[in-house]
């Protein structure tokens, strides 16, 4: 239930602006990969090309290939809706649906594909997903209450529950902890560690310690200057990237001597 991702010569555009250039990367199944790099280097942009969310922005487009277990996501006839159902995403700011209850939030994605899910099945799925997101004990008594009534950290875990409820092949996370306190952050990092057993996880983070704690591999992105495209500078095992990187820029960045 988890697939690998191989990216070949990917260029990412916003209309005419080339935001990310020439990315080649191979992400293993059932691993955690962290994207790090300075602000504006295109981490979010690149991440969003992995589930075809990039093209939601008017004028945004992509050149190159993204292979999910060998199938090109950008091949002819591929439906972006199907792609997104298989590759889940958690955003920087928690975004549970405010008009839905906690329970309906968890079921939101499931109900899209399987409208005739029975109440019993749904109950099981809600409990399993919320357990998986480490949220069950906190919300089990108020599943009918709106999701927006939870704390920020709880909302983010609700979003993770919503993402894993559809049992995706891959989970993408864009700075999932940046709006959270250290305790919620640790809860989510633990969760990422658990998710690795079942899913391929890709996470963008500005927190170097977090990248070191949760990821198996790390990709460092950088940008030569404003208006220039971002590039993948180095990709390797996390311990290597942090202690013995090949590139000077990577070393400067991970040691805080950047800029």
């Amino acid at each position: 239930m988890s697939k690998r991702i191989d990216v070949k010569d990917l260029n990412v555009y916003y209309s005419k602006f080339l935001a990310v250039e020439g990315v080649n990367i191979n992400i293993d199944a059932k691993s955690v990969t962290a994207f790090i790099g300075p602000s504006g280097c295109g981490k979010s942009t690149f991440l969003r090309t992995l589930n075809r969310m990039h093209e939601v922005i008017p004028g945004a487009r992509v050149e190159g290939e993204v292979l999910l277990d060998g199938d090109n996501l950008y091949g002819p006839g591929v439906d972006p809706v199907t792609v997104r159902a298989q590759i889940g995403m958690v955003f920087q700011r928690p975004n549970p649906f405010p008009t839905m209850s906690i329970r309906d939030n968890v079921l939101a994605g499931v109900k899209l594909n399987n409208t005739k899910i029975s109440k019993g099945e749904a109950d099981v799925l809600v409990e399993r997903s919320l357990q998986g997101a480490n949220l069950w004990n906190e919300v089990k008594d108020r599943l009918g209450k709106p999701g927006s009534g939870l704390s920020g950290g709880q909302q983010q875990r609700l979003c993770i529950a919503r993402a894993i409820a559809v049992e995706p092949q891959v989970i993408l996370m864009d700075e999932p902890c940046s709006a959270l306190d250290p305790i919620s952050t640790l809860a989510i990092e633990d969760l990422i560690n658990d998710l690795k057993d079942q899913y391929t996880v890709v996470i963008v983070t500005h927190n170097m310690q977090q990248a070191a704690r949760v990821s198996d591999k790390t990709a460092f992105f950088n940008i030569a200057g404003t208006g220039k495209p971002g590039k993948l500078i180095e990709f390797g095992d996390t311990p290597t990237i942090f202690s013995n990187p090949t590139e000077k820029a990577t070393e400067d960045y991970v040691s805080g001597r950047f800029g």
Partner: protein, 351 residues
């Protein structure tokens, strides 16, 4: 890797020092204060005194808003009082003196029903079209087409109602009467389409259609604004779960816009209930009938407009009492709308 972590902490040391620096400055200032008692006085009094200009502005502004709020209440109360005082003679008069000779209630209730029929027809036709057009503009049309369309819709709202009325009577009524015949022949078993259909087409259904065209731009432009305000964050959440565009709209845009849609429809209903000229021109009025395609029915506003010029004495009171009834209907409709909106506040997305 441990080495890297240490390197990382080393690099942060200068940063922490910089952060400390302002604190040092403050403590220096604090130690200076006792030697300068004047400074200290200024600091303590500043809690009770306030900056003059800013505070005055605050007061002026709150007074102005209070005055505006009171003014609206006074005007509203004044109108209501005027209506009640002027209407009392009609309400207490002996039944045989009222038009129709059977009392005010018998006179007014067909008009109330007629008003509601015309307004409901207008909303039933206009609401789905308006929401569809608004969604098309906000979420489907290419950007250039969307802004052009939005502009045209806003223009429609600026056309005076007498023009709509003229269009309704000179064009629509004539063109539509054949289809009334068809309705009477094929669906005549339904009481609302019972024949014989009006030959001129000047029926309550035509009036309702004209009203629908008139309220369409109001509902469309309001709902379009609401739909555009749906947070991108939530739309993307739905798309990222694998929702199609329509599913995304059903999951986020429509629930988020629900209170706004209700308000927009109520505003449209307000206009339809009170619309005078268009109905007066289009409808050839008569007694209350269930059939929408026969001559007959009348609305309160059109009744007042048509009879007021020649009215005198008790007749004026009767018409004003009719106006009072319309006022109460509108008030009731708005209160129901508010009730619906607040009942769902918890899930409104505003929190």
């Amino acid at each position: 890797m441990a080495a890297a972590m240490e390197q990382g902490t080393d690099a942060f040391v200068p940063y922490i020092k910089i952060c400390r620096a302002p604190a040092a400055v403050t403590s220096a200032a604090e130690t200076r204060i006792p030697s300068k008692p004047k400074d200290r006085e200024v600091t303590t009094t500043s809690l009770t005194k306030s900056r003059g200009a800013g505070h005055a502005g605050d007061k002026v502004f709150s007074a102005a808003t209070l005055a505006a709020g009171c003014l609206i209440l006074v005007v509203l109360f004044g109108v209501a009082l005027f209506l009640v005082i002027q209407a009392v003679p009609a309400l207490v008069a002996p039944p045989d003196k009222i038009q129709g000779g059977e009392g005010f209630f018998t006179y007014i209730w067909p008009l109330v029903i007629g008003t509601l029929i015309a307004s409901v027809i207008a909303l039933v036709i206009a609401t789905p079209i308006a929401i569809g057009v608004a969604l098309f503009i906000s979420h489907f049309a290419p950007r250039k087409l969307a802004s052009g369309l939005g502009y045209v819709i806003d223009l429609l709202a600026a056309i005076p109602s007498v023009v709509y009325g003229a269009w309704g009577v000179a064009f629509l009524a004539k063109e539509i009467s054949p289809s009334y015949n068809w309705l009477a022949n094929n669906m005549g078993w339904l009481p609302i389409f019972q024949g014989p259909a009006s030959a001129t087409g000047k029926t309550i259904l035509t009036a309702g259609i004209v009203l629908a065209v008139m309220v369409l731009p109001i509902i469309t432009s309001l709902t379009r604004e609401i739909f555009l305000q749906t947070p991108k964050l939530h739309e993307e959440a739905a798309l990222a779960l694998g929702a199609t565009r329509w599913e995304m709209i059903r999951m986020t845009v429509l629930p988020f816009g629900r209170p706004g849609i209700i308000s927009a429809v109520m505003l449209g209903l307000g206009r339809a209930l009170g619309e005078t000229m268009a109905v007066a021109l289009v409808l050839s009025s008569g007694v209350l009938t269930a059939s929408l395609i026969q001559t007959g029915n009348q609305t309160i506003a059109a009744e007042i407009a048509l009879n007021f010029p020649e009215a005198s004495g008790l007749k004026v009171s009767t018409l004003i009492a009719a106006g009072l009834v319309l006022f109460v209907i509108t008030l009731g409709v708005n209160m129901i709308a508010r009730g619906i909106i607040t009942r769902h506040k918890e899930f409104s997305g505003a929190n």
